[in-house]
């Protein structure tokens, strides 16, 4: 990532998360304050995965020393800049890692193994040069000059790489199908429509290392015999789109894309298609419909896209992370890749860990490590310090895994055996303040809204499932409703065409399986133990703790709180909408919820 050349290099992480946490302000402040320092060089990278420490900056000294600082904001620049440049010690609270103190290791980084993310947060994603320095586009050179398409496919098969979008289909076999189809034209598509709420792996990879994904796409194109490619990316990811556009222009300029790539006979042209906000378009046939300018309705398979896909031509679709693994496999060999992971799930997997987790962020681990290692060793347990309840894997298509199954290894089969799915890698951690019925309701609200409406059981069935959940959450459910949920879930699963409907009941099925007692509490005792379901809780003032600071009074959106300054306040239950604002703003824990 660039040589120091006698400079002190300051590098700020400018991924979407970093920017949201204030990294751009930090960068601008540093730019202004270091302008006069001739021996200082300021640059940016993207996301190194440590979202919980954002904004992050790194300092590289000419002698090789290195500092990583976190939670550092614009306002801290005056305090730390001078000591940093003159190599005096700075406030320890900012220091994540210091090469002079090798014992100080951030536990988040232990147990991780970076293949897909090796350049993320290391290189400047807006420049092709650092990617090239890291060995970028060597794989495409190797493939085009020394391998036949069949050899590339064999290499993928031998690596054991499986689709990282969630389904886990072997990539080499998928490529083989598309290769076998004879047609005048074929298409190679990257599915970057990361619609799973709670997942951000693809966004981070595209923002941090866009060239790697492009290189993977070109290799795939060569293997299946496609000369045209698309990256279908969500419109909600403007920074990823911007960086991809820059990367495509740079790769075209250097002839890694375009006609007769690197003076060979192989040509490949790549376009970006922006999605328009439809979760179902993550399903490959719906994605194809969307590129064709249609409503994103899935199509019946067979014919599979490998036979008849985009504009009826053979088409291969791979997920971002799958493609980002490809250059590494070509460069290092399938055997090296297959040496990581388990018997059936090879290599590494990227997870985005969020929710009530102490150290949320982007994590890449060898397949097969226990969930517990990700949540406790890497993630540091719950953010609240309260007991862990469940981790939700695979988003709306996935399920909740309870504490007693945390020793489940992360591989496709073991995760599926719990009833959840590996999915694309979203992991949302929940503690005891999360209501399991509310979580199921949340996902059904989502899938019901996102159902394209083509299949009756998905369109109407998800609506009915949601209504039952709403009934239970309102304390109006019966035990028959629980049976109805299970029964209807099975039907929606069986009678939907695409993955959206087939998996939509998963959050219900797994939560009933592991947290049946919580459902029964809502039904029989009219009680929500997490104090989330509004119809089952009340807010009241704990008189002995109320200082009469008036903050709840000022913040109540419906003026349900009365009381004079410095006197105990009171909540009018008839007016209260149970929004929880008073509970949130009270600095004295004087609001009771339950």
């Amino acid at each position: 990532m660039g040589k120091n050349n006698g400079h002190i290099r300051l590098v700020v992480g400018l991924g979407s998360c970093g920017i949201a946490a204030g990294a751009k302000d930090l960068y601008e402040e540093l730019a202004a304050k270091t302008k006069s320092h001739a021996n200082t060089k300021l640059s940016h990278t993207s996301c190194n995965g440590m979202c919980f420490k954002e904004p992050i900056m790194e300092v590289f000294y000419p002698d090789g020393d290195h500092l990583m600082l976190g939670n550092i904001h614009k306002k801290d620049v005056d305090k730390v800049l001078e000591p940093l440049l003159t190599r005096k010690s700075i406030d320890e609270k900012f220091v994540i890692e210091d090469s002079r103190k090798p014992d100080k290791k951030e536990s988040f980084r232990l147990k991780q193994h970076k293949i897909v993310l090796e350049n993320c947060g290391v290189i400047d994603p807006d420049d092709i040069a650092p990617y090239l320095e890291k060995g970028g586009y060597m794989a495409i050179k190797k493939v085009l000059t020394s391998m036949t398409p069949e050899q590339v496919i064999e290499e993928m098969k031998a690596s054991g790489l499986r689709g990282r979008g969630g389904a886990g289909f072997p990539t080499g076999t998928k490529w083989q199908f598309a290769r076998n189809s004879q047609a005048e034209k074929k298409y190679m598509i990257c599915n970057a429509d990361e619609g799973d709420p709670g997942a951000f792996m693809d966004r981070a990879v595209l923002e941090s290392d866009p060239h790697r994904v492009i290189e993977g796409l070109i290799i795939g194109g060569y293997a299946i015999g496609a000369h045209y490619g698309y990256i279908y990316v969500r419109a909600e990811y403007p920074l990823a789109i911007k960086r991809l556009k820059i990367a495509i222009a740079q790769a075209t300029e250097r002839n890694f894309l375009g006609d007769k790539i690197l003076n060979t006979d192989f040509s490949f042209h790549l376009k970006i298609k922006e999605g328009a906000g439809a979760f179902v378009c993550g399903e490959e046939t719906a994605l194809i419909a969307s590129i064709e300018g249609e409503r994103g309705n899935p199509r019946l398979r067979p014919p599979f896209p490998a036979v008849s896909g985009l504009w009826k031509y053979p088409t291969n679709i791979n997920n971002v992370e799958t493609l980002a693994s490809v250059p590494w496999i070509i460069n290092n060999g399938s055997a090296a890749y297959a040496s990581y992971g388990t018997a059936k799930s090879k290599g590494t997997k990227v997870f985005s860990v969020a929710g009530k987790i102490a150290k949320g962020g982007l994590v890449e681990v060898d397949m097969g490590i226990p969930l517990r290692d990700i949540i406790y060793t890497i993630g540091g347990g719950t953010s609240s310090g309260k007991p862990f309840k469940a981790v939700q894997l695979g988003g709306p298509s996935g399920g909740c895994v309870p504490e007693n199954l945390l020793d489940t290894p992360v591989d496709y089969e073991s995760i599926a055996a719990t009833g959840a799915i590996m999915g694309s890698g979203g992991m949302v951690v929940m503690d005891e303040d999360t209501c399991i019925v509310d979580v199921a309701k949340f996902f059904l609200t989502f899938t019901q809204k996102e159902s394209c409406g083509k299949c009756t059981f998905c369109r109407v069935g998800t609506m009915r499932l949601l209504e039952i959940l709403e009934k239970i959450s309102a304390g109006k459910g019966s035990m028959d409703d629980l049976k109805e949920l299970e029964d209807l879930s099975a039907k929606v699963k069986d009678l939907s065409l695409c993955g959206l409907g087939k998996t939509a009941p998963n959050p219900i099925v797994t939560t009933i399986k592991y947290f049946r007692d919580e459902y029964e509490e809502h039904i029989k005792d009219k009680k929500c133990r997490a104090a989330v379901c509004k119809d089952l809780i009340n807010f009241s003032v704990i008189e002995k703790d109320c200082t009469g600071c008036h903050l709840c009074f000022k913040n109540c959106p419906v003026n349900a709180i009365s009381g004079e300054t410095k006197k105990v306040h009171h909540i009018d239950q008839k007016l209260c909408i149970k929004c929880g604002m008073c509970y949130e703003v009270c600095k004295f824990n004087a609001i009771f919820k339950g």
Binding site: S16, P197, A278, E294, G296, A354, G355, G426, T434
Partner: protein, 152 residues
């Protein structure tokens, strides 16, 4: 409505069905929403039928048929935001702006909608105003965030 805009869309993206989504995105980019007269004009000048264009416009949640505020607020309702209290953010926004979801303030300054996931899950709860993302929100942060956009 400018005739030249319609010509620009067709020139940039083509006049076949395939161009429907990019054209709608360009219109929304220029006008902030999809004015019906512009849509009609596109259909008159291209091969795209009205039923197709309207069908696409109403399928994808990105497209709006009514004008948005000068500052478009997108409240993330992803899983992480949900468990970390997106609802409180919504209450605070509704209270501050006196509008509901999918509405625009009377002065046209702010509009508000929920979106599935902005992908900044570790900073939940998250809100996006125009192109800027704000994370780890609380009710007091909502107030200071809105101030940046001229909300007293």
């Amino acid at each position: 409505m400018s005739q030249s805009n319609v010509q620009k869309y067709l020139k940039n993206y083509g006049s076949t069905k395939e161009a429907a989504i990019p054209i709608l995105q360009a219109i929304q980019n220029d006008y902030g929403y999809l004015p019906l007269d512009v849509l009609s004009k596109v259909c008159e000048e291209s091969e795209i039928t009205k039923s197709h264009l309207f069908g696409v416009a109403t399928f994808y949640s990105q497209f709006k048929l009514t004008p948005k505020g000068k500052n478009a607020i997108k409240v993330c309702k992803g899983t992480a935001c949900h468990v970390k209290g997106a609802d409180i953010t919504i209450v605070a926004l509704k209270d501050q702006l006196s509008i509901n979801m999918d509405q625009t303030t009377e002065d046209g300054e702010f509009s508000m909608e929920t979106v599935a996931c902005l992908g900044c899950c570790s900073l939940a709860p998250v809100v996006m105003i125009n192109e800027d993302v704000y994370g780890s929100l609380s009710s007091s942060k909502v107030r200071s965030m809105l101030k940046k956009y001229g909300k007293e």
